[in-house]
């Protein structure tokens, strides 16, 4: 806010720190551990305004610095204080086409809230909760504006309908380009629908955001595996697209290559979550896709990221008796969102830190019965800058388990790369793309998100999508490569 404008905030700056961070209303842990409904219930208008009033309205705000899409946090929070919730939503939409989603799944503690000046003394401003509030408010009001833009005559194919692809689509349609999104699965949304569970991101929210994009004119085509059903070259040469954006996302799940990984009961997190989220196996037999019955079973997830927590909290909701997280480092290194770790603990998830399986055991039946684990200690920092876990001698123990879910990351899916001649990849198989331009080694072909960086977050993929959209627009406008 410029000094000339008078603050709408009725609370004096020195009193703002006295207001406690407004708690997010949520389902009680013992209740929500039994259902797939969303954990967080969302702020009321009163709670939102009270929280917004905590904003110090810094002259030089830093809360936007770490935002991958550059949301003007201070401006939208001021609009909430002023009671202009739709204005706040519109302000966010200038930079973020999926606010109802990022408000729920961004790691705010590493981004906007991590930079909030309040956090030096008290808890940071609940920026994620406020973003979510205005996005949901806008949806309830049903008043979002569909911008009218003069058509550019150019058309762009987007490969993959996850956060990166949707961002590119949303940005380019507003610049007047014709946009068609190709999705391999039968549902639009990528990881938002197959990966993130209902209790953290209701699919209805994703559908609403996608419906809005449809209203804006974005075309979607499901059941198209680019590289198999149609190639990038065919899109450019035969179907007349002027540019292609590749946002195919995290690919093949990684396994640990330890004995027993092929036992029945050992899942990749992608398979486990896809069965539950995309195929609705938790509603078997109303839905046809089956799932192992977890009632009364002991289940462990291996890994410490959001995917790991999504999987184990889903297992708990499917009736698991014991639900463990086995993580080879300590809590400080866990990549999961802080709120998810907090929620998981409340729900009764048993965190076994500095623990890693070395073998999956069965009693000759072909079915998992236990994981042989070792305890770890942290040694010198490794390439990631985190201290390397080292197995402690003589620490082996067997943990009885019926189901183990491996959530240790993914490697690059090769389908597009292997069917697009001249598309450069790095040694790990990810697509090479310019950091700012998202341009690949092929003219007219752009890429972004996990297929460029390896597994990361929704908002980082959206940031890449945003840069790609600007870069594609520039290319379509100037024709220069």
């Amino acid at each position: 806010m410029s000094p000339a404008t008078k603050s709408k905030n009725p609370v004096s700056p020195k009193d703002r720190m006295k207001i406690a961070r407004q708690l997010m209303p949520e389902q009680a842990p013992e209740v929500r551990a039994q259902n797939f409904e969303e954990v967080n219930l969302g702020y009321s208008a009163e709670l939102a305004q009270q929280e917004a009033r905590r904003c110090l309205e810094c002259a030089k705000p830093t809360c936007t610095d770490n935002c991958p899409v550059g949301i003007d946090v201070k401006a939208f929070v001021e609009l909430i204080v002023a009671g202009d919730f739709l204005g706040a939503a519109a302000k966010i939409r200038e930079n973020n086409v999926l606010p109802a989603i990022t408000g729920r799944v961004c790691p705010q503690e590493d981004q906007c809230e991590g930079k909030c000046l309040l956090s030096k003394k008290v808890k940071p401003l609940g920026i994620g909760y406020l973003e979510r509030f205005v996005a949901d408010y806008e949806q309830r009001m049903g008043t979002h504006v569909v911008p009218k833009v003069a058509p550019s005559g150019k058309k762009v194919a987007i490969v993959g309908s996850g956060p990166a692809g949707l961002t590119v689509a949303g940005d380019l349609i507003q610049k007047g380009h014709r946009v068609r999104v190709f999705e391999a699965l039968h549902e639009i949304g990528g990881v938002l629908v197959y990966g993130i569970p209902e209790f953290r991101l209701p699919k209805q929210i994703v559908r609403e955001q996608i419906d809005y994009m449809r209203e804006m004119g974005v075309e979607f085509e499901t059941d198209v595996v680019v590289g198999r059903t149609v190639t990038v070259d065919e899109l450019l040469e035969e179907e007349g697209y002027d540019a292609v954006f590749i946002g195919t996302g995290a690919g093949l799940p990684q396994f640990m290559n330890i004995p027993g990984e092929h036992l029945n009961g050992v899942y990749s997190a992608n398979e486990f979550l896809t069965r539950i989220n995309l195929m609705k196996a938790y509603r078997f037999p109303v839905y046809d896709e089956p799932m192992l019955d977890l009632h009364g079973k002991d289940v462990a997830v291996i890994g410490g990221g959001n995917t790991a927590l999504d999987a184990i909290r889903s297992a708990l909701r499917l009736g698991a008796h014991k639900a463990y997280v086995l993580y080879r480092r300590s809590e400080a290194e866990m990549p999961a969102r802080a709120e998810e770790v907090h929620h998981a603990r409340q729900e009764g998830i048993d965190f076994q830190m500095l623990t890693a399986p070395v073998e999956f055991l069965s009693e000759g039946s072909g079915w998992l019965t236990a994981a042989r684990c070792v305890r770890m200690e942290l040694g010198e920092p490794d390439a990631s800058g985190r201290r390397r876990p080292v197995a402690m001698k003589g620490s082996e123990f067997d943990l009885p388990l019926s189901v183990a879910v491996i959530a240790i990351g993914t490697s690059a899916n090769p389908i597009v790369q292997s069917t697009t001649p001249g598309l450069g990849t790095n040694p790990r198989g990810y697509i090479q793309a310019g950091e700012q331009t998202q341009r690949t080694t092929r003219k007219g072909v752009f890429a972004g998100g996990d297929i460029v960086t390896g597994s990361a977050t929704v908002i980082l993929a959206m940031g890449a999508g945003r840069r790609a959209a600007n870069s594609i627009h520039e290319y379509l406008t100037t024709g220069e490569w």
Partner: protein, 310 residues
């Protein structure tokens, strides 16, 4: 939605569908498959593409009723639609002139062996085909296979057609007669592919099998279809479905394909209890047969529930 323009039973419980899917028809190559989902609550199952007609924009699939989804599928008729069909998935068969190739099709696996045999013939190979089935009624695509083969042998388990016995009996005869065999391709029940691979291993005859693990997305995302090849994990959907039969760990494949047996049984039982829209004979035989010889087309075997066909 993908419209069915032709539907016809080839044998009891085995039906051929011609489906409008122009993108897939244009790209399909022998050895590839599709994944389909019939209705909103349905599961995704992989099915072999028998042939395609790029000019008409259609593909043809052959379905054997085994679990709930395939039973439901086989109730569909011309004019009906399938909600989702995605493909062509998997790596195509490696087609070149090997010399003499023996193509072995077991049961409904013959529908997948056929396009590969046809392409191998066009590539200049001498193609010897062996088609096996439980009985005469279940021998499919005989004329089609004959058209693309230099020699065709048929075996039935009960001797009701062709020679009584198994496809491996014929293969052994060929080997014992000193027939030069440069490649064997076997598509069918796991037990058959395993038996063929074991027979050719000692003879050092390169043998390709087409695997049928449980699968969901078919694009390499979920890892459900992982198979052990030479002690290493590979994904049938992106690395296969064809693999060197001498390197496949068949017992692990059998074990993993049994993972949802209970749920599948429950689905089938509930489905039988509500036989609306059920046209093929609902005998308990179908399911028992399934577990005896896992069937090729219904890779994801069945599962399921009360969902009605919409």
């Amino acid at each position: 939605m993908f419209k069915i323009v032709h539907a016809q039973f080839l044998a009891p419980g085995i039906k051929r569908f011609v489906i409008v899917a122009p993108r897939i028809a244009r790209k399909q190559k022998p050895g590839q498959f599709v994944i389909l989902r019939i209705y909103e609550e349905g599961e995704r199952i992989p099915l072999t593409i028998e042939s395609s007609d790029p000019a008409r924009g259609t593909i043809s699939i052959v379905v054997q009723a085994a679990g709930k989804t395939t039973h439901l599928l086989n109730t569909l008729e011309m004019g009906d639609s399938i909600l989702d069909v995605v493909g062509p998935l998997g790596k195509p068969s490696e087609i070149r002139n090997y010399g003499t190739v023996v193509v072995v099709g077991g049961g409904v696996g013959t529908a997948m062996a056929y396009p590969t045999a046809s392409a191998l013939k066009r590539a200049g190979n001498r193609v010897i085909s062996i088609v096996g089935a439980r009985n005469k009624e279940l021998v499919i695509l005989e004329n089609e296979m004959r058209m693309v083969s230099d020699a065709l042998m048929i075996t039935t388990d009960d001797g009701s057609y062709g020679d009584k016995g198994f496809v491996t009996d014929k293969l052994r005869q060929l080997i014992e007669n000193g027939t030069r065999i440069d490649l064997v391709i076997a598509v069918g029940p796991i037990v058959m592919m395993k038996a063929v691979s074991e027979m050719t291993r000692g003879e050092h005859i390169h043998t390709v099998v087409s695997l049928n693990p449980i699968m969901i997305d078919g694009t390499g995302m979920c890892g459900g279809c992982r198979v052990l090849i030479d002690g290493k994990s590979e994904f049938a959907c992106v690395d296969g479905p064809e693999f060197d039969g001498h390197k496949v760990d068949f017992p692990v494949l059998v074990q993993r394909n049994a993972m949802y047996r209970e749920a599948e049984q429950r689905s089938m039982d509930e489905f039988r209890a509500r036989p609306s829209g059920f046209s093929s004979e609902p005998t308990s035989r179908n399911v028992n047969e399934k577990w005896g010889t896992p069937d090729k087309p219904d890779k994801n075997v069945c599962a399921s529930g009360e969902g009605e066909l919409r």
